[in-house]
C-alpha cells in the first residue's frame, strides 16, 4: 500500500480567528452597538442629571451649554431623557428578543423533528401569526393589556418569534436530509441527539444572523409602540415617546428633540443589521 505524503495545507478552526477583525461590517456593527449600549446604561450615572426634573420657565430651549441636547416641552433635560429612554427601551427590547429567540428555536425544532401531524398543526398556527403585520397585532394586544415592562416583553417576544420559528423549521428540514445527518443516525444518533449535535451546529450561522436581526426588530417594535402611546408608559421616557413628543410640536421646529432619539434608534437598528450581516459573511464562508 502506498502511504500518502502529509497534506499540503491543513486549516484548523483557530487558524482563521484573525479574519474576525478584518470583517469591516462586523467591527462597525459592534462599535455602533457600544455607542448605543454604553450611554443607555452608564450615561445616566455619568451625566448625573435627573431626567424628570422640571426646569420651570426653561421649556423648549435649543441645545446650549447648560442643556447639551436642549429641553423638551416640560422643561426636562433631553440628554438625560435620551439616556434614561435608552435604558427603558433596551431593558424591554433585549429580553423580548431573547424570549423570541428561545421560543422560536424550540418551536421550529419541535416542528421539524416531531411527527408529521405535529408539524402540520404547529405550522398552521404559525401561519396565522405571520398572516398579519406584526405591528397591527402588537397595537391590538397593547390596547388590551395593562402595559408594564414584563407584559411588553411577553407581548413583543410572542409576536416576533414566529418568523424565526418558520426559518428554523424550514432550515432544519433542509439540513435533516443531508448525508452527514443520515450518517450520524446510522451510527446510532437519536432524533434529539442529531438536532443538538448536528442541526443546531450547522444552523449556527442562520441562528446568529437572525438572532441579531431579532434584536433590531424588537427595538423597532417597542419604539413604534411607544411612539403610538402604547408602549413604555409615561412618565417613564423612551426613544419612541420622545419622538412622539417632538412630532407633537413639530410646528415649532424642535430639531433637537428629534436628533437624540432619532440617532439612537438608527444606530441601534443599524448595529443589529451590520452585526447580522457581518456574522453572515463570516459564517457563510465556512459552512
Amino acid at each position: 500500500m502506498n502511504s500518502q505524503t502529509a497534506p499540503a495545507t491543513i486549516r484548523g478552526p483557530s487558524a482563521n480567528l484573525g479574519r474576525y477583525f478584518r470583517n469591516r461590517t462586523l467591527v462597525t456593527g459592534i462599535a455602533l452597538a457600544l455607542f448605543v449600549l454604553l450611554p443607555s446604561f452608564l450615561g445616566g450615572l455619568i451625566y448625573g442629571r435627573d431626567p424628570y426634573e422640571l426646569h420651570l420657565g426653561q421649556q423648549l430651549l435649543a441645545p446650549s451649554g447648560e442643556f447639551p441636547l436642549g429641553t423638551d416641552s416640560l422643561g426636562r433635560d433631553v440628554l438625560a431623557l435620551v439616556f434614561d429612554g435608552g435604558r427603558a427601551t433596551l431593558i424591554v427590547a433585549l429580553p423580548a428578543a431573547a424570549l423570541a429567540f428561545v421560543v422560536g428555536l424550540l418551536y421550529g425544532l419541535a416542528s421539524a423533528i416531531g411527527p408529521a401531524w405535529l408539524d402540520r398543526v404547529l405550522m398552521r398556527t404559525l401561519d396565522t401569526f405571520l398572516a398579519l403585520p406584526s405591528l397591527v397585532v402588537l397595537i391590538f394586544f397593547a390596547s388590551m393589556i395593562t402595559l408594564t415592562n414584563t407584559t411588553l416583553i411577553m407581548l413583543i417576544g410572542f409576536i416576533s418569534w414566529a418568523s424565526l420559528a418558520r426559518l428554523v423549521r424550514n432550515e432544519a428540514i433542509a439540513q435533516r436530509g443531508r448525508d452527514f445527518v443520515l450518517a450520524a443516525e446510522q451510527l446510532g444518533g437519536g432524533r434529539w441527539y442529531v438536532a443538538r449535535v448536528h442541526l443546531i451546529r450547522v444552523m449556527a450561522p442562520i441562528l446568529a444572523v437572525n438572532g441579531t436581526f431579532l434584536i433590531g426588530d424588537s427595538i423597532f417594535a417597542l419604539s413604534a409602540l411607544s411612539f403610538l402611546g402604547l408602549g413604555v408608559q409615561p412618565p417613564q421616557a423612551s426613544w419612541g415617546s420622545l419622538l412622539d413628543s417632538a412630532l407633537d410640536i413639530i410646528a415649532l421646529d424642535p430639531w433637537w428633540l428629534l436628533l437624540g432619539p432619532g440617532v439612537m434608534i438608527f444606530a441601534a437598528l443599524l448595529a443589529s443589521s451590520l452585526i447580522g450581516q457581518g456574522l453572515n459573511a463570516r459564517f457563510g464562508a465556512r459552512s
Binding site: 416641552s73 416640560l74 409615561p234 412618565p235 407633537d248 410640536i249 415649532l252
Partner: protein, 551 residues
C-alpha cells in the same frame, strides 16, 4: 422599460395640477379644531344631546338645537338668546310656567311647547340611558309637564325647590326637539343614528350639518331661519386634530383658524406668523384632589386638621404663574370664583378659612399630634403621613401641578408620591368604589347653579371619596329646595372650611387666533355654551394672512 416612465409622467401630472392658490376664497370657510377653548382636542362622536357624553358633543348639539335656557357671561339666564322668553314660578317653587319666543325649525315649521313635551317624553323613555339622569331633579323630581298653549307650557314638581336651582340645572335640559321629524323613533333607534347627519336635518340652532366624515371632520352651513346673529362665514368645519401640537401646526400651515395654545408653547405661540394670542375667561369649574376616606391605609384623611394642612401647603399663586403665565384664578371653595354671581359674601371678599399658609399647616399638624420622623415626614401612633396621588396620563398640566405640590407638602411633613394611570382604568376603579386607590386629581365642571348635589352628599352619584357629613347633606338639600341664595352661601362656606375635596385652580385656555378672525372671547360662556356663530370676519386681514400662504 416604457412601464417605468409611464408612472413617472403620472406622478408629474398629479403634482402639476395642485395649484396652491385655492379655487374658492379661503376666508369663506372657518376651520376650528373641536375642543378649542374648552378642553384639549376631542373628536365629535354623537349629535344627540340626550345621549351626548362629552363636552364637545354637547357643544355641537347646542349649535344645532337652541337651548330652552342659555346663560350669559355672568352665568345668568340670557332670555334674548334663549327659546324661553319668560319664566314664572308659583306655589313656593313647585310650579313653573315658561313662555317661548316665536321660533321656526329649519324646515319652516314653528317651534311649539309640544316640541318641549316631546323632549320630556323622550327623556322619560330613555330612563337610565339619559346621559344627565339625576341632575337638577330631572327626571325623578318632576310630577308632570303639560302644554298650556302653543307658546306656553307648565312644569309641576313633586316638592318645592329653589327656583334658581331648578331653572338653571333642571329646566335648562328641556330643549325642544322636532316631534314632526323624530316623532316615531324608539330609544334604540335614537342610539343607532345618534351620529347620522341625515337624522339631524331639522334643526332650530344657528347651524345645519353639511357633512360628517367619521373620525375626521364635521362641516356646517348656516341655518337661514335662525333668528339671532348669523355667522359671516359660508361654511364652518370642525377638523378633528389629535394633539395640541398638531393644532399649532395647523395654524402655522394656514389649515386652522383658531387653536388652543399648549401652555408649554406659550413663548413660541407669540412667534407663529399671521396670528395673535387671546386669553379666554376661566371655565366654570375647578381642579381638585379626591381623598379616599374609606381606605384604611390613609385613614388620616378623615382628620380635618390633615386636610386643612394639605390645602394650606399648596401655593396656587406660583402654580398659576408658572403653568399659565398668570392667567388663572385661585380656588379655595366649591364655587368657581369667576363669574362671581354665586359667590358667598365672604368668598367675594376673598376671606377664606383656608389659603396658602405653610406655618398654619405645621401648627395644625403639631396640634393634632403628628410628630415629624427622622426624615421629616410626620407620623401619629405609627402611621406616616404618606400617600400616592393618581394623575391621569395624557395631559401634562395635571402632572406638572402634582410635581409642583410635592415640595410644599414635604416641608409640612407630608410625603406625596405620583403615579400616572390611563384615564379609563382610573375612572373604572373610582366608579366601582374600590378601596385600593388613595388619592386622585381631576377637573370638575360645575353645573350652572353650583350646588354640590352629586359629589358631596352622602351616596351622591359622583361621590367616589365616600365623604359623608349630615351637616353637609342638610346644607346641600336646603340650597336645592329653599328659595334664594342664602342656603348656597352657607353650603359654600361650610365646604371651604371642611374641605370634602382639596381645591386646585383650573386650566385657563389661551387661544391662538389667525388674523382676520374676531370675537373669540364670545365663543364660550362659563356654563358651557358654544357659539362659533358669534365669531367675526375681517376679510381684508384674512386675505392678507392667507395670501401669505397662497404662494
Amino acid at each position: 422599460m416604457q412601464r417605468i416612465n409611464i408612472m413617472a409622467t403620472l406622478l408629474a401630472t398629479a403634482l402639476a395640477t395642485h395649484n396652491p392658490a385655492h379655487a374658492e376664497d379661503p376666508c369663506d370657510t372657518l376651520v376650528i379644531p373641536p375642543g378649542a377653548g374648552i378642553s384639549g382636542p376631542s373628536d365629535v362622536t354623537a349629535l344627540n344631546f340626550l345621549l351626548a357624553n362629552s363636552q364637545m358633543n354637547e357643544a355641537v348639539a347646542g349649535m344645532l338645537f337652541t337651548g330652552l335656557i342659555n346663560m350669559d357671561k355672568t352665568d345668568q339666564i340670557d332670555y334674548a338668546h334663549s327659546i324661553a322668553s319668560k319664566i314664572e314660578d308659583f306655589d313656593n317653587g313647585t310650579r313653573y310656567r315658561v313662555t317661548m319666543h316665536p321660533w321656526l325649525w329649519s324646515d319652516g315649521k314653528p317651534v311649539t311647547s309640544d316640541d318641549v313635551l316631546f323632549t320630556w317624553e323622550t327623556i322619560e323613555k330613555l330612563g337610565d340611558n339619559y346621559v344627565a339622569a339625576g341632575e337638577g331633579g330631572i327626571p325623578d323630581l318632576v310630577a308632570n309637564v303639560k302644554a298650556l298653549n302653543s307658546e306656553q307650557f307648565e312644569v309641576t314638581l313633586k316638592s318645592p325647590a329653589n327656583p334658581l336651582w331648578f331653572e338653571l340645572n333642571g329646566l335648562g335640559q328641556l330643549t325642544p326637539l322636532p316631534r314632526h321629524a323624530w316623532g316615531n323613533f324608539t330609544a334604540d333607534q335614537l342610539y343607532e343614528n345618534q351620529s347620522d347627519p341625515k337624522f339631524f336635518s331639522v334643526v332650530d340652532g344657528p347651524f345645519r350639518i353639511e357633512n360628517f366624515v367619521m373620525g375626521r371632520s364635521i362641516s356646517f352651513v348656516p341655518n337661514p331661519r335662525y333668528p339671532l346673529e348669523q355667522t359671516p362665514f359660508k361654511r364652518m368645519v370642525f377638523k378633528f386634530v389629535n394633539s395640541d401640537g398638531a393644532e399649532l401646526q395647523g395654524i402655522a400651515a394656514g389649515e386652522l383658524d383658531l387653536a388652543n395654545l399648549p401652555h408649554e408653547a406659550f413663548k413660541a405661540g407669540n412667534s407663529v406668523a399671521n396670528s395673535h394670542l387671546v386669553p379666554m375667561a376661566p371655565p366654570f369649574g375647578y381642579g381638585y384632589i379626591g381623598l379616599n376616606f374609606k381606605n384604611p391605609k390613609v385613614a388620616f384623611f378623615n382628620d380635618l386638621a390633615v386636610r386643612q394642612a394639605i390645602q394650606d401647603s399648596i401655593d396656587e399663586k406660583t402654580m398659576i404663574a408658572a403653568l399659565w403665565h398668570g392667567y388663572g384664578v385661585e380656588v379655595y371653595g366649591p364655587v368657581p370664583p369667576v363669574p362671581p354671581t354665586f359667590l358667598s359674601p365672604e368668598a367675594k371678599a376673598g376671606k377664606f378659612p383656608i389659603g396658602y399658609d405653610p406655618a398654619k399647616a405645621i401648627a395644625l399638624l403639631n396640634q393634632a399630634g403628628y410628630v415629624p420622623g427622622p426624615d421629616g415626614i410626620r407620623a401619629k401612633n405609627g402611621v406616616r403621613l404618606e400617600f400616592t396621588l393618581i394623575v391621569p396620563s395624557g395631559t401634562s398640566t395635571s402632572l406638572m401641578m402634582a410635581q409642583m405640590m410635592q415640595p410644599g407638602l414635604r416641608s409640612s411633613g407630608i410625603l406625596m408620591h405620583i403615579q400616572q394611570e390611563d384615564f379609563n382604568q382610573m375612572w373604572a376603579s373610582l366608579i366601582r368604589h374600590l378601596s385600593t386607590w388613595q388619592a386622585y386629581t381631576l377637573v370638575w365642571s360645575t353645573s350652572p347653579y353650583p350646588s354640590g348635589e352629586t359629589i358631596f352628599n352622602t351616596g351622591g352619584a359622583f361621590n367616589f371619596t365616600g365623604y359623608s357629613d349630615p351637616e353637609m347633606d342638610r346644607l346641600i338639600a336646603d340650597s336645592a329646595s329653599k328659595p334664594g341664595l342664602e342656603a348656597l352661601y352657607k353650603y359654600q362656606d361650610y365646604a371651604s372650611e371642611h374641605l370634602p375635596y382639596i381645591f386646585l385652580p383650573d386650566t385657563v385656555n389661551t387661544m391662538l387666533v389667525r388674523n382676520g378672525i374676531g370675537g373669540p372671547d364670545r365663543l364660550i360662556t362659563p356654563a358651557g355654551g358654544y357659539n362659533p356663530q358669534l365669531l367675526t370676519l375681517n376679510r381684508k386681514a384674512c386675505h392678507a394672512a392667507h395670501a401669505f400662504h397662497a404662494r
